[in-house]
């Protein structure tokens, strides 16, 4: 088994009295897709927000490459290699697709404090951005404004932006939300190819895609860890059937 | 300062605070529901005071003047919302602010044109011209107590309307989720018209009832406006309860700072605001 990249131990997030995440522990391995499923309100997004540094944990530890990063600032997560996409499309609508990826790439490549150099003079940034666009198949959309591409393409751009930050870990928050079957398949294919290079954490409601893609699956209920296992074992686990899968027809 | 004078100063502070609340409540209401920072709020305070002067002189009755002036303010509020602000809902908030700056200019010019530039005063209505002896030297006029009473009444009425009536429910909903109100089938533009008019009337009412105890001078609205900002921000934008607490706080702090630390009293309320915003960046009662 490959090595552990990202790890959470006894992670808690309380909103006042509400326990969004309670004593949650999990390990993510390199070059795998690890899906997290569970009913609405199970705390999946909270977990992702904690892992990406958007929220501060109430207590518990996040370990990245063997070092605790729990108390790091939210922007430091991305810098150290934890990239994320958002559930609701979160891109720079007024900029071109290429520029969107340039913004993402520039943080890693540098130059943000160059006040007098034209932003397009740094070839490394453009190159990194173009390669990210190419990976998701948006090359011909490079010069198009982000607000003018289709919804599916925007979701792809969202992932391209994460890739442009040159991450080790990619946290994807429902990348297929609101997509038709065909569009979803594009993403599935994309994730398949990415799997060989990154540690991918996937939160997704599209169970078909999840079962197709995942190496490992974690089921969450009410902010708590229910089970983590391979796809096949999860499918046949009666506990999961009872607690979650069997009772909720909507999901399937 | 002995206890007795401490209590008198406290009374001064509370009384000033209550008046501030009356002026600021309209501002925070409009902002909370419509998201508009109405810079012309101070101008409506001024217009209210001048209208009270005009109609008191005309009818010889302060009570009638209060009623007529409030009605005129209501009409002004409705006209401004219908013919100007309603065209800007889809635009940037800063455009709306710019519009209200234009209104300030117009109101100032109208005031100067109609009433001239000499300081004016309104006599305290005779029924309330008595006073209560506080110390061997100090008295407290009935009219000031009457103003405080009005302010408390307005505060209670607003609390009741917002928490107990259908209009209040819509106002609260409009604050939190505009789309939801529209989905409920409520005509949001009508709600906005009503709220804006109420806000304007509150500002004018503050000007009307304080007319007998202030001097009516050009530009009186702008001075008030800044104090209102401070109150509204400390209380948390859009929160009536916050405005009430903040107004009392500002009134008391300002009063005691004037006497105890005169060197920095001009900055005291701004210091207070900065401190509170540093501790609670959203103000005291942000919902």
């Amino acid at each position: 088994m490959s090595n552990i990249v990202l790890e959470a131990e006894n992670l808690c997030k309380f909103w006042g009295g509400l326990k969004a995440l309670d004593e949650f522990s999990i390990k993510f391995y390199d070059k795998q897709i690890h899906s997290i499923v569970g009913p609405n309100g199970a705390g999946k997004s909270t977990l992702l927000n904690l892992l990406s540094g958007a929220y501060q944990a109430t207590h518990g530890v996040i370990i990245y490459n063997g070092k605790p990063i729990t108390s790091a600032k939210s922007y430091e997560f991305c810098r150290s290699g934890i990239g994320r996409s958002f559930q609701k499309t979160n891109i720079f609508h007024t900029q071109t697709c290429l520029e969107n990826c340039c913004i993402a790439a520039q943080q890693q490549i540098g130059g943000s404090f160059k006040f007098f150099q034209n932003r397009n003079q740094n070839k490394f940034i453009i190159k990194a951005a173009l390669s990210a666009l190419e990976k998701v198949g948006l090359t011909e959309r490079a010069k198009t404004k982000a607000s003018q591409i289709s919804y599916g393409e925007q979701r792809q751009l969202e992932i391209a932006m994460v890739l442009a930050t040159n991450p080790k870990v990619i946290l994807l928050d429902e990348p297929m939300a609101g997509m038709g079957h065909e569009e979803s398949q594009t993403i599935v294919k994309l994730l398949m190819t990415l799997k060989s290079q990154y540690c991918i954490v996937l939160v997704e409601h599209d169970m078909e895609a999840v079962f197709e893609l995942s190496d490992l699956m974690t089921v969450m209920v009410d902010g708590q860890h229910l089970i983590t296992d391979s796809v096949d074992n999860i499918r046949s686990n009666p506990l999961v059937q009872d607690a979650y899968l069997g009772n909720d027809d909507e999901v399937f | 300062m002995d206890t007795y004078f401490f209590l008198v100063q406290l009374l001064n502070g509370v009384q000033y605070g209550l008046l501030l609340f009356l002026i600021a409540s309209g501002l925070t209401l409009i902002f909370g529901v419509m998201g508009i920072l109405n810079l012309a709020h101070g101008s409506m305070y001024m217009i209210g005071a001048y209208l009270a002067y005009y109609f008191t002189a005309l009818t010889d009755s302060f009570a009638i003047a209060v009623i007529i002036s409030s009605l005129i303010a209501l009409v002004i509020g409705l006209l401004i919302e219908r013919f100007l602000i309603s065209h800007l809902y889809k635009r940037d908030h800063l455009d709306q602010v710019l519009l209200t700056v234009g209104l300030i200019f117009i109101f100032n010019a109208v005031q100067s044109f109609v009433w001239g530039n000499d300081p004016l005063g309104v006599e305290v209505p005779s029924a309330l011209s008595g006073s209560i002896q506080l110390t061997e030297l100090l008295e407290y006029s009935d009219y000031r107590l009457f103003i405080s009473l009005i302010c408390i009444c307005v505060a209670v009425a607003m609390y009741y309307i917002i928490n107990r009536t259908k209009l209040g429910m819509l106002i609260r909903a409009g604050e939190s989720d505009r789309a939801m109100v529209e989905n409920l089938g409520v005509d949001i533009s009508k709600l906005f018209t009503i709220v804006f008019a109420i806000g304007v009337v509150l500002a004018a009412l503050a000007g009307i009832i304080s007319a007998p105890i202030v001097s009516l001078v050009p530009g009186m609205g702008e001075h008030v406006l800044i104090s209102c900002f401070v109150v509204v921000v400390i209380g948390g934008l859009g929160s009536i309860k916050g405005a009430f607490v903040a107004a009392l706080l500002v009134g008391i702090v300002d009063t005691f700072a004037s006497v105890l630390i005169p060197e920095i009293s001009s900055m005291s309320i701004y210091l207070l605001m900065s401190l509170i915003l540093l501790i609670k960046p959203q103000g005291l009662f942000k919902s």
């Binding site: 958002f86 890693q108 | 800044i226």
Partner: protein
Amino acid sequence: MSIFTNKSEKLFIFFFFAIGLVIPLFLADNVFYINKISSMIIIAIFVMSLDYLVGRSGLITLGHAMFYGIGGYIFTIIAPEYETVNFWIYTFYVMSISAFVALIVGFIVLRTSGIYMIMITLALSQMCFYYFADSVDYGGFDGLFIYIKPETSIFGFNFLDLNNESHFYYLCLLSLFNCFVFFKVLMKSSFGRVIDALKENPERATALGYNIFHFRLIAYVIASSLAAYAGYLFALQYGFVNPSMMSWEVSATALVMALLGGLGSIYGAILGAFAYEGLHYVLEHVTQYWMFFMGCLIILMVLTLKNGLSGLLSNLVGDKENE
């Protein structure tokens, strides 16, 4: 690589500075108009710095006049009273001291955002206003005077005499031009890319690893020290400073000018400042009730123009949408 965003901007800048360069030749015997235009240019610099802050960086402030005033006061306070000093050296002093002040102020105000930032900047500038208005040493409400204007020699070459109105005018025009070019270059730079990003979507910019606080702070310091530079020029023009320079009305008026010009367009600041000041000048000479017409015109412009005067110009020239 062109620094211009669109055709209308190019046209406007070209005509503005072309006319600006030759206009003193036609006004040679009328010092007043040269002075008036100089002061409009100074205001345009001030508004431009505000426009960068509000329109480009998304940081709305109602306390920008604080730096305008500080710029003037710093010079008046640190320069020896009866000694000729060098303009460029003191430009450096004024701008670095005000940058330092802006760093501290920015550190406080940038913790808040939106309307709360508007209010806390307002509070700080009011405190600053009262500090100078109540001070005994700095002349209180009556302000301070500058008796001797600086000389402008560089390496012994003295080509501008600040006591000469036309020379001062050209200094202002040059400053405005530099300011404009500086902001345009800044906008097109890699730094500008981040500023664009965090104005549009600060949450996303953070998720991409940017410490938005740092970038905002830098933008705030840059804009504030340029505002201070404008205040410094203002103090030099008429030789005095007054606390009313930092009153909140000055901040609000500048914001109105930036809005009139079209937020975020930078060159709109010039349009806005000239339109507002021009109208003000004209109307106050026509009627005592100039405020009424001023108010009506402002409202008319808000209702009819979507992106201010620069937007209007853009439509006239026929720029492509959103370019």
